[in-house]
Amino acid sequence: MNDNQLLLKVRDLKTYFFLEEGTVHAIDGADFDIRRGEAVGVVGESGCGKSVTGQSILRIVPNPGEVVEGEITFYRYEKRDDGTEVQEVVDLTALDPRGDEIRSIRGGEISMVFQEPMTSLSPVHTMGQQIMEAIILHQKVDEDEARRRAIEMLRRVGMPQPESTVDSYPHQLSGGMRQRGMIAMALSCSPSLLIADEPTTALDVTTEAQILQLMRDLQQDLGMAIMFITHDLGVIAEMTSRVVVMYMGKVVEGADVDTLFYDPKHPYTRALLNSIPRLGHDKSERLESIKGVVPDPYNLPPGCPFHPRCASFMPGVCNVEEVPNFVIEPGHTARCFLYAD
């Protein structure tokens, strides 16, 4: 498999929510690529649009939200019987969100792991029934075979006694076990892209370590790409190879993980990195906090949405013009006028 093959290309994505109080620009210009087998992190604070990005890709943006502009190109690779691969290109934004084609992709080729395993699993179906539903929907197998595969999948994600847990209900399992069940469900159809939306946020650190280890192993074994949506820079540093940083619906910086942590360019990324207390570093007296608060989504400041909080604010520039994406070096972009040529 060629690692440089594109799997997903997002260009100028805009997803708006049309509410009575006004229009919320949840995503207002997101550009990024995901290659095959790659782990990409999407990081940002609450309300920055990172979860809606995942929902837009799967076309499950809740009402009254809508993808209004942009492209999400998904590259499907199919192995022929003679061993060659054929590539098919699908524009996900052009599909009917309730149509057959997106349904065959959703859960089959792109699947999702949600943050809260208690609210995103059905309380009235057993783990097995929920995993089998996905298998039967996407693969042509009978119920016995689906059950066999469900048990196999549960064993793969480290569920103890998979033959009996397959018949347990989510409330009978602990948080970590439920998240394992959800991962088993997401992986049951061998997707080429897994969207993990805060997969460990609701878990304790020792359980989080188990789940992250599991996801790392599965990614290597199954060769799938993972899009990690999280606010935790620690998870980003440990799990991903490329990162995009979002602020108020915009991708403000994109780089490989080492560059992002050691040579960040956008003032927001820098401020974010300086505001976290770190375990391995010497205890400094004060944390650098970002002044002010996230702006009101109904009433975004003109120009760069970060300018009211920015340490490098340039009056007359940042608060006037819309900021384009500047390429700093190949693979490293920042949406900031500091890097205008």
Binding site: S174, A209, F261, P277, R286, V294
Partner: protein, 340 residues
């Protein structure tokens, strides 16, 4: 950190809180959840003690028992008042508590559910003043304006309702309420865990400034080890209702004595892509506090477990000056801290 020789503010001796499990029509007692099971620690004046552990370990219950927000089953909580008098909080009559709560206040985790949505900031922050009758009318307003200014909010906002504020601002409102009566001791229960990182830093800095300015003492309950390290002078680690280790912050983080502390610290994802990824992944799950294992509660998950750990419960002993650990093998193991 310099050795803290300030006078003792709080000493907790053998604090126990068991929640009964009742079953059946007659609600007969069939057992107990040992949420807090014999906890000992002390806090000196102007000090911050961090209390860490995973969910269900009893850290919040410990904080609430000290406040008498819930009644402890047994044990002593000896609190030294500003006039030097030491009182045992669990023995105090309800009526005397109100007077004491001028000195001990609490900051809650969730700034959304801990503020009454039908009350204005003036009512929320002013309530402690009116309930304890320390201020009336105009005075309340003046004091609330002053408090809002202290926590970094504009006094003009005092007639607004909490919904008009962001999470970080709401947490500031909660802090202003806690400060209203000039307390000496604040139990902060996960005060920043519901906040975004950039806002977290603002609130942590505020708490540190307030401590320096007003000489406050904090019991800082949290699950985030990096936050606890940043703010605490000393740290206590809880596991299934018991303290397993307690020491000065840097000592605990660099040279832990308990295998659980070691595993906990190695589990935290480090925000550094160049960090070595030698993690200790704990097997299994946290023990059930209604039916804990024999011997040391941690032994089924411990990679250093030997026979004695399965049978005999270790005691919390002082292995180094001011460094306590509850492990049979504390002296022989050399465990990895955050540096390694």
């Amino acid at each position: 950190m310099a050795e803290n020789t300030n006078p003792m503010l709080l000493r907790v001796n053998n604090l126990v809180k068991h929640f009964p499990i009742r079953r059946g029509f007659l609600k007969t007692n069939v057992g107990a959840v040992r949420a807090v099971d014999g906890v000992n620690f002390h806090i000196r004046e102007r000090e911050t003690l961090g209390l860490v552990g995973e969910s269900g370990c009893g850290k919040t219950t410990t904080g609430r028992c000290i406040m008498r927000a819930i009644e402890p089953t047994s044990g002593e909580v000896l609190y030294t008042r500003s006039n030097g008098e030491t009182i045992n909080l669990p023995e105090l009559e309800r009526d005397d508590l109100k007077d004491l709560r001028k000195e001990i206040q609490m900051i809650f985790q969730d700034p959304y559910s801990s503020l009454n949505p039908r009350m204005t900031l003036l009512q929320i922050v002013g309530e402690p003043l009116t309930v304890t009758k320390v201020a009336h009318g105009r005075e309340v307003e003046e004091r609330v304006a002053q408090l809002l200014r202290i926590v970094g909010l504009r006094p003009e906002y005092m007639r607004r309702y909490p919904h008009a504020f962001s999470g970080g601002q709401r947490q500031r409102i909660g802090i202003a309420r806690a400060l209203a009566l000039n307390p000496r001791f604040i139990v902060a229960d996960e005060p920043v865990s519901a906040l975004d990182v950039s806002i977290q830093a603002q609130v942590l800095n505020l708490l540190q400034d307030l401590q320096a300015e007003y000489g406050l003492t904090y019991l800082f309950v949290a699950h985030d080890l990096s936050v606890v390290r940043h703010i605490s002078d000393r740290v206590a680690v809880m596991y299934v209702g018991k303290l397993v280790e307690m020491a000065a912050t840097e000592e605990l983080y660099y040279t832990p004595l308990h295998p659980y502390t070691e595993a906990l610290m190695s589990s935290v994802p480090k925000p550094d892509p160049r960090a070595t990824k030698r993690r200790i992944i704990l097997e299994g799950e946290v023990a059930n506090p209604a039916n804990p294992p024999s011997g040391c509660y941690f032994h089924p998950r411990c990679r250093y477990c030997i026979d004695i750990c399965k049978e005999e419960e270790p005691e919390l002993l002082e292995y180094r000056p001011e460094h306590y650990a509850k492990c049979h093998r504390a002296e022989e193991l050399s465990l990895r801290g955050v540096g390694g």
